[in-house]
Structures are given as structure tokens and as C-alpha cells.
Symmetry: C2
Subunit: 337 residues, 2 copies
């Protein structure tokens, strides 16, 4: 604030962004932006602050409700410029085209992609993340891994260079995450994790590949319904279950993941695939992440609701190596019990 | 030309760019650009066309001779926008901030970096490179490897993620190059090589590292003096010699290169380093690249001149793990005989 005031920049400050950012906050922020004729938004925070800023930036200039964007009722044609000072490495929103918001009235968490969602700049100082808690750091590691793995595990033509870059992002993130559980102020680990967060979601690791995030779709149902669940923690539970269900439709791909990312030496693809998935699950656990829905206090009774939410009331399936319909999604949630 | 004419875009065509692009051409092109009030330059070709276009783009708007830019007599403050249709994967100029030009009157090849040298767009269709000859394809592979290795081998703080991405670019390039010697129309190999050319020189592989290209400095002396030498071919001779001279100042780094890029399993750093350098030299040879100055018809008599050119008449040293002065550079050239 001092720096901005020294530059004689008028600032309207708006705090109070919550995790799993809320549409209600965005609607309020849009009003504030319009009333004060705000010219740019400086997002100081992580994914929730960024995504709230992106919705506000478009909402301030577009003549509709911000919820229309993820509902595909309106296409963003203009938006205020958004800049960012990043304080947590996780969502990769600082370089991504995506933005997610929760509508608590409808218990729905939804997102949309647009190049208007790209920040004009992002100031990324790893030292600003020294005080991120171990739990939130671990959630960030899982989110970075998920953004990378989900692109990696889409059905695609071969993409050798993109594969190798994705494997690089994963290996560097795994190493940084382990280091940070021991020493949260390791500059190099914080720097590598911060840069990995951007590269995992700015489409570099999706070059030549389809950009869909099937496990994120499952997780949005989960933390959309249960607001207390951190996005990364939800992914830590869902990703191994999803992988155990899906790997059999492409064991060779999961075997490559196991060999290159987890140093698996098993020759058999099926065995290697299982090895890699187990290593991933063990790693998430080693970071203190939950490994089952019961860790969130949930039991079997939530499964139908979550599967219904994820398929928009059985209205859609989610693309992966197979089309995941209600029954498949239900089976995956059941594997998380 | 048909597409441009259908869009009613007036085009002044200017062909005749030579390899190791010439200042004389640029001076002519600047005149043409000014006379025709050209508004943008579309570079259709590879590094030589791109670099000529970059000098022309700045020369057209700046009130000085284009040679002033690499001579540090003028700083580029404005330039016409440059777009690109890439027809050879090699120099990475389509995404880089650098541009190199040869002054044949002075037998000098020099470059400079500026964000004005960044293309506004690059259309990269791998199929356009199917007809690139095996020799030029191999030169491209060497240039991509060199851009990546030179950043990789600069003295720096640890950069785990950048290291791994650089290793990814190298592994993908090595694989694509080998494939293309057998099948020049392998789409995936052409695509991976094209994307590697951009990533090798757009600073992604230099993130957190110092951006200096010591072996390129040696090579600019060589192909600046002997115009018939292709840049990549010059690098293929110089890189192994440089590495054999320099590795002893950081064997651990060269050992990492050997283990991660060339699958070396030797435990001893010194032995691993030598193994990696030999593998690299063998690989360049396997692509049909020259391995000694004698392959260009040169002998010992050129060495003093080249060392003199590279040090600007003993006026500078070139930074590497050690400062390379006239005597070091001479020793490296001698290792190329």
C-alpha cells in the first residue's frame, strides 16, 4: 500500500476472499469496481484471490451477472487488466486462462477459460511463500501435480517434448515438496515450486495435448458441496482412486509415468502402472494429505449426491481414457471411501 | 502471396537472404522498408531470414545504421512488428530476443538482444520442414542442443526445474534428430524439433540462469571469417572441444548432463563427464556433422586469427566456468584441429 501510494495511485482495497472463492464476494466486488471506476485489479494472494479478481475484472465491464460466464450464458468480450503479486504456489492461476468460482446458493463450483483471464503480469517472489503452512504447501504440491498429470493422462497423439517437460515439472515439484516439509524456508525449493505452479497450468505442459481436467471435475463437486475441504486435499484423495480405475485403459502410459517420474524399473507395464500410482499415493500421504473421504468425516451417504453434482444431474459425462458417466464417477468416489 | 493478396494486404517482397545473414542485405532492406512505408515485416524462412528481418525492423524506424545495434553505439527504442512463418527448426529466432548479423567488410559476425527482437507471432507448421535437407536438419539439431547446453553450463545457483526442462529439450531433440536422419517426413519428430528450437532459445531453459553463450562466441568468429561454414556445423566441431577443456572446472555438472541426458550409469563424476562429452560428439558425428576444423579444409594457420576475432583483438574474455581469454580460446581451437 505504501509503494502504491508513493506512486500516487488511488487504491480501493477489498479484502475477505475465502478459499473456494465465492460468487457473492465477486458480485460485491463488481459493484465496488464500477462505483469507483477501477482501472485495473491487483490480486495479492493465491488462486482464490486471483480467480475472484478475474471474475470481477470481467464482471465490471460486461453487462451481465458474473455467474453467466461459467454457465456459458455470456462470453467474456472485455475485462479490466489484472496484475498479481503471488503469495502461495498452488493454483497456477497467475499464468492460466482459467478461473473457478463457487455459487453457495446452488452448491455449485464452476469455471471457464478465456484469454481475458490471463494476468498482465505476476510478481513472483519465493520468499513471500515462506510462511505458507505445511498443510497449504502440501495442498499446493498436489494441485500442481494434478494440473500436470491431468494433461499428461488425456488421450492424445504422441507429444514427446511435452511429455518430458511435464515429467520435469512433476519431478521438480515432488522434490521441492519433500524439502519444504523439512525446511519451509528453503529458497530454491520455494522458487522451483512457484515456477512449477505457473508452468503446470499455463498450457506449456498441454502443448499438443487436449486440455481437460477430469479429476478437477470430480474435485469441484466435492469442495463445491463441502466448503471446508481444501481443493488440493480433495485432489489428494481423488487422484489415486481415479488413476486406479482408469490406468487399465492405457497401462503403457501409466507405466511411462511410473518409470520416468517415480524411477520404477519394472518391465511389465501393468505392474509398473500400479507401482507408479502407489508411489504417488504414498507421496501425498507423506506430505500429510488425506487419503480417503473418511478423513473429511464423509461416508457412503455422500456418494450419490457428489456423482450427481459432477455429472450436472446425469446430464454430462467427463472425458478421460474412457467417457466417465454417472456410474463410472460413482465407482471412483466409492474407491475413495 | 495469394493469401495476403486475398486479404488486400499490399506486399513488397524482398528475397535473397543468405546464410550467415549479411549487413549489406539489411541496409538495402531498410531502404526498401522506408521508401514503401512498410508497416510490418513477415519473415518467411529460418534464423537468417528472421535475424535479417529483426535488423530491418529496427533499422527502418531508428535514425542510425543497423550495425550500430550490435556495436552498442545505439540502443533500439522502436521497431516495426515482425511476424514469422517458420520453414526450418534451428536458430530459435522465432521466439528469441537475439539477432545476429555478419559484416563482410569487417569479417565480423555480431549480435544483440532486445525485446524488440521478439516476434509478434510465429506460424509453426512442422510439415513445412519436411524438405529441409539432412545436413541442414543436423545443423539445426546441433544449434538447438547448443542453445540449451550453453545456458545449462553457465556458473549459477541451483535451478532444479530449469535443469530438468533443459534436459527434456535435449533428450527430445536427440531423439527427433536421430529419427529424421531415417525419415525426414516423420511428423512427430519434425514437430518436437520445431518446438524444441523455440524453447531452447526463448529463455525458458535459462530461467534463473545467466544467459551467455560462450561456444556461440567461438563459432561466430569461425563462420564470421569463413562464410561457407554453416553455423550448426561450426558448433558441432567446437562444442565437444570446448566441453573437453572446460568440464574439469565443474565435473559434477557435466556428470549430471551425462547421467540425465545420455543415460550414463558411471558413479565417478570425472568418468561420467567424459562419457557424456564423448556421447555428444559421437551423436553429432552420427548425424553427418563435421568433427574437426580439417573437415572444413582448415589447418593450424587459422587459429591465431580466429582467437583474435573471438576476443575482439584480445580486448575481451568470454565467460564460462572460467574466464576464457585469448590463450584459453586458442587452446580450444587447437583441440578442434
Amino acid at each position: 500500500m505504501t509503494a502504491l501510494s508513493e506512486c500516487e495511485i488511488n487504491v480501493v482495497e477489498m479484502g475477505g476472499v475465502e478459499p473456494n472463492p465465492k460468487l457473492s464476494f465477486v458480485r460485491e466486488a463488481v459493484k465496488v469496481a464500477r462505483e469507483n471506476k477501477v482501472q485495473m485489479i491487483l490480486a495479492v494472494g493465491g488462486g482464490s484471490v486471483l480467480d475472484s479478481s478475474k471474475y470481477t475484472a470481467a464482471g465490471a465491464l460486461m453487462d451481465c451477472d458474473p455467474w453467466d460466464f461459467p454457465m456459458r450464458k455470456a462470453t467474456v468480450q472485455k475485462a479490466l487488466p489484472v496484475g498479481c503479486i503471488l503469495t502461495i504456489a498452488a493454483a497456477g492461476s497467475e499464468m492460466s486462462s482459467s478461473a473457478v468460482i463457487s455459487n453457495t446458493e446452488l452448491n455449485m463450483k464452476r469455471g471457464y477459460n478465456s484469454d481475458f483471464n490471463r494476468c498482465k503480469f505476476a510478481i513472483m517472489n519465493p520468499e513471500l511463500t515462506y510462511t505458507v503452512s505445511k498443510y497449504q504447501t502440501a495442498c499446493g504440491v498436489v494441485d500442481i501435480m494434478a494440473h500436470t498429470m491431468e494433461r499428461y493422462f488425456m488421450p492424445c497423439e504422441p507429444t514427446d517434448l511435452t511429455d518430458r517437460i511435464a515429467e520435469s515439472v512433476m519431478k521438480a515439484t515432488i522434490s521441492a515438496g519433500a524439502t519444504l516439509m523439512e525446511n519451509p524456508e528453503d529458497y530454491d525449493a520455494r522458487a522451483n515450486m512457484m515456477w512449477a505452479s505457473s508452468l503446470s497450468h499455463n498450457d506449456l505442459t498441454g502443448c499438443g495435448r487436449e486440455n481437460a481436467l477430469p479429476v478437477h471435475q470430480l474435485e469441484h463437486a466435492l469442495s463445491g458441496e463441502y466448503d471446508q475441504i481444501a481443493h488440493g486435499a480433495g485432489l489428494a484423495v481423488l487422484f489415486p482412486a481415479w488413476a486406479k480405475y482408469i490406468y487399465k485403459y492405457n497401462p503403457a502410459r501409466f507405466a511411462q509415468f511410473a518409470r520416468r517420474v517415480w524411477d520404477c524399473t519394472q518391465a511389465d507395464d501393468e505392474e509398473a502402472a500400479i507401482f507408479g500410482i502407489e508411489k504417488m499415493a504414498e507421496y501425498f500421504k507423506s506430505l500429510g494429505m488425506p487419503s480417503a473421504l473418511s478423513d473429511f468425516g464423509l461416508d457412503r451417504s455422500c456418494i450419490d449426491t457428489l456423482s450427481d453434482l459432477c455429472t450436472f444431474g446425469r446430464q454430462r459425462s467427463v472425458k478421460s481414457y474412457i467417457d466417465m458417466d454417472f456410474e463410472v464417477i460413482k465407482a471412483i468416489f466409492e474407491m475413495c471411501l
